[in-house]
């Protein structure tokens, strides 16, 4: 196949997921370290969603939804554990203020758990209200 111009071989030469995984990781990282809840939630959703997408694309799983709900449950567990560790405190801090108050740790925990809840809802909606798990067309 190398005689074909611009081709390496016969397989899909493009995938939308790698870029989204990288951006999701970066956004989630910033959102969690600096407790910026919207970035943490959005970044984690982008990251887990894209990981599920790429795993499905590579054919390692048939349907994306069980894997997505697995990630979702893990996020909920981690988030709630962090929230419990902070003693149930919760505060929206300024970036320039201290990042290590129990309130800001609680905020991190809640944002991670919230991302998990949204991912879980997404997985359930995907499983029961769409046809996307049947084929390979997404």
């Amino acid at each position: 196949m190398e005689e074909q111009p611009g081709l390496s071989d016969q397989y899909r030469m493009s995938s939308p997921w790698p870029m989204l995984i990288a951006f999701g990781l970066a956004i989630a990282e910033v959102g969690i370290i600096w407790p910026l809840a919207p970035l943490a939630v959005g970044g984690l959703l982008l990251l887990t969603g894209s990981i599920v997408g790429i795993v499905r694309e590579a054919g390692y799983v048939e349907s994306p939804w069980p894997l997505l709900s697995g990630f979702a449950l893990a996020l909920v567990a981690i988030g709630l554990a962090l929230f419990a560790y902070s003693g149930g405190a919760f505060a929206v801090n300024s970036v320039s203020e201290s990042l290590r108050t129990s309130g800001s740790i609680g905020l991190r925990g809640l944002s991670i758990a919230f991302a998990g809840v949204i991912a879980l809802v997404g997985a359930l909606v995907g499983k029961y209200w769409t046809t996307a798990n049947a084929g390979h067309s997404v």
């Binding site: 005689e3 081709l7 030469m13 493009s14 910026l36 390979h136």
Partner: protein
């Protein structure tokens, strides 16, 4: 941040996610042709059916590509942008140092931030990615592989870099808009605590996060190269006839595998120290010297991570224009492996003046001096390859020879620094700066230029402008030696590094120091002019240069030097001309048959 800010962020983030979702559904059309993942396409047996729509068109191609050649181009473009940023930071610093007092920059913290950004950018955002550009594009071609072993991982590794760069540079962008951030991170690239822990500037946190991402990226890339070189070689590519560039990248990847995860862990510890009251590097905990051990256990192998593939490029290109095979090929490979192993046993030579145990110091001095042996083996082999060869002094060859010349100066000054008594005198002076810039600019960047010019016809399909390329070489060669030799003299004069001003000097040879600073600044501007010419040459030739119609633009067949990647290029040219080329550039209406216009 106030609650309004959080709401605004939420809206932005929601819009981004919705945008991503919409984008993904729109991609469905072009993705439906896929022959992989279980039978949807059923097109595996019919090669011609999906020749033209393997890649989507326009910008989407570049955002979604998993083709090693495209990713190589992306790496190269990214590295070029980083090179411009890091280079301009250096020019600003040198302009400031032309006069003894602060005259150009607002304050010394801006100088410190530029210094930090220059170092981190050149090492992590230019040096490592430009090498990844070469290895991504050429290693699959050189070892006759279809692609990298893990094409998608390859793409993830690249796409981690742009957010990494944005985070590392963030301080400069965000500081004007917020009170909390004064300027870019000013920790120097070594990030020594307690300075890096005590600086309250949040841009340090962002820089650490960005560095962490680039470390993850480098590690993913390294795993991919190791897997590719081990398992994807073509049938007639064995270990005995593996090319020298692949050998050096294999060794480099091994070094990355052991060095970068350690940097990532140390960075996380530093982040925890900064934000979560841990004491990893505090005096009451692990101590500040712990950071230096961890950092340099990564940092010194990083030097060889950066220099081994350029050595591979020189070992690969030099023989092509010497008309004879690389002298002592086996020993060049052995010396590569030896450098790889020894590089992990020299880190404390950066710490001779920290008061570590003198017996430890002596052992690190011995290993550091020993690493001169494999380096010299390579140098003598390059010189012997040139000896009595029929040399062709075109631009790639000039940069190879410039590499050897500068590497000798950079290497020999390094041998001096490896000796404890000399290091105690010269530590933290401009001598060190001159030494490592001879290696990173004079050698590593020169080898990069050699590779960029040598393979230019292959990845652009066009020829660069030769006269401009010669200007680029000579300005770079003279500029490098003027700038960095002046720094070596500055070091002998006792001038310490990392200072923005020198108007308070009352001891030492003040006139010499002033003159050398001005000479170094002049050299930096020569370098700037040279690199402007280079960028102009690369861009304008890519757009408008004469098309390469010969699959062997360097006439390598004459000396029996034509290698596998040029054979691939020749086949590519033949087929491109036959089909009138350009098909992959054009958007396709559907995912199916080639249209008539494609065939005509």
């Amino acid at each position: 941040m106030a609650i309004e800010g959080q709401i605004a962020l939420t809206v932005l983030m929601g819009a981004l996610l919705v945008g991503v979702a919409v984008w993904l559904t729109r991609l469905e059309d072009w993705r439906s042709y896929t022959p992989l993942a279980g039978g949807a396409g059923g097109a595996i047996g019919d090669e011609s059916a999906h020749v033209h729509e393997e890649k989507p068109a326009g910008i989407i191609r570049w955002l979604t590509t998993v083709d090693h050649k495209d990713i190589g181009i992306l790496y190269g473009t990214y590295a070029l942008i980083a090179f411009v940023w890091g280079g301009l930071a250096a020019v600003l610093m040198r302009a400031e140092l032309a006069t003894a007092s602060l005259s150009l920059l607002n304050n010394t913290q801006v100088y410190n931030a530029l210094l930090t950004s220059h170092g981190i950018t050149m090492l992590f955002l230019f040096g490592t990615p430009i090498l990844a550009a070469f290895s991504n594009y050429f290693i699959p071609l050189l070892i006759d592989a279809d692609d990298m072993a893990f094409p998608r991982i390859n793409a993830i590794a690249f796409w981690l870099l742009p957010p990494g760069a944005i985070l590392i540079w963030a301080g400069f962008f965000v500081a004007p808009f917020t009170e909390a951030m004064t300027t870019g991170a000013a920790t120097s690239w070594t990030m020594y605590p307690p300075l890096s822990v005590e600086q309250t500037n949040p841009s340090v946190d962002l820089m650490l996060l960005g560095l962490h991402l680039t470390g993850v990226s480098a590690t993913m890339g390294a795993i991919n190269f190791i897997a590719t070189i081990f398992s994807e070689r073509g049938e007639d590519v064995g270990w005995s006839n593996l090319d020298i560039f692949s050998w050096t990248v294999l060794t480099q990847s091994g070094l990355i595998l052991f060095a970068f995860p350690l940097l990532g862990s140390a960075i996380i510890m530093l982040l925890l120290d900064r934000n979560f009251s841990t004491v990893f590097f505090a005096a009451e905990g692990g101590g500040t010297i712990l950071w230096q051990h961890l950092f340099w256990f990564f940092g010194h192998p990083e030097v060889y991570i950066l220099v081994l593939p350029p050595m591979g490029i020189v070992s690969y290109v030099l023989p092509k224009f010497s008309g004879r095979k690389l002298f002592g090929f086996k020993f060049v490979v052995y010396s590569t492996l030896a450098i790889g192993v020894l590089s992990f046993g020299v880190w404390a030579h950066h710490m001779f003046t920290t008061g570590i145990d003198p017996r430890l110091r002596a052992s690190f001095m011995a290993v550091s001096l020993a690493i001169a042996i494999p380096s010299a083996v390579k140098t003598f082999n390059w010189i012997t390859t040139l000896w009595n060869g029929s040399l062709r002094l075109n631009t790639p060859m000039l940069f190879c020879i410039g590499f050897i010349s500068n590497f000798i100066i950079g290497g020999v000054t390094g041998v001096f620094l490896a000796a404890i008594p000399i290091d105690l005198v010269l530590h933290d002076t401009y001598y060190v700066v001159g030494h490592f810039h001879y290696v990173v600019m004079g050698a590593i960047a020169f080898a990069g230029f050699a590779g960029i010019y040598y393979w230019y016809p292959m990845y652009t399909g066009r020829m660069y402008q030769r006269t401009l390329a010669k200007w680029h070489f000579w300005l770079s060669m003279i500029g490098t030696n003027l700038t960095f030799f002046a720094m070596i003299i500055l070091g002998y004069a006792g001038f310490t590094r990392r200072y923005a001003t020198y108007d308070g000097l009352t001891v030492g040879p003040v006139e010499v120091i002033t003159a050398m600073h001005q000479a170094a600044t002049l050299g930096a501007f020569l370098l700037l002019i040279g690199q402007i010419i280079w960028v102009w040459n690369m861009v304008s030739s890519w757009i408008d240069g004469p098309k390469v119609e010969d699959g062997d633009p360097w006439n390598l067949a004459e000396t029996n030097m034509k290698s596998r990647e040029w054979a691939w290029f020749e086949r590519k040219l033949d087929t491109t001309i036959a089909t009138d080329g350009g098909a992959e550039e054009e958007p396709l209406a559907d995912g199916g048959e080639p249209t008539e216009s494609d065939e005509s």
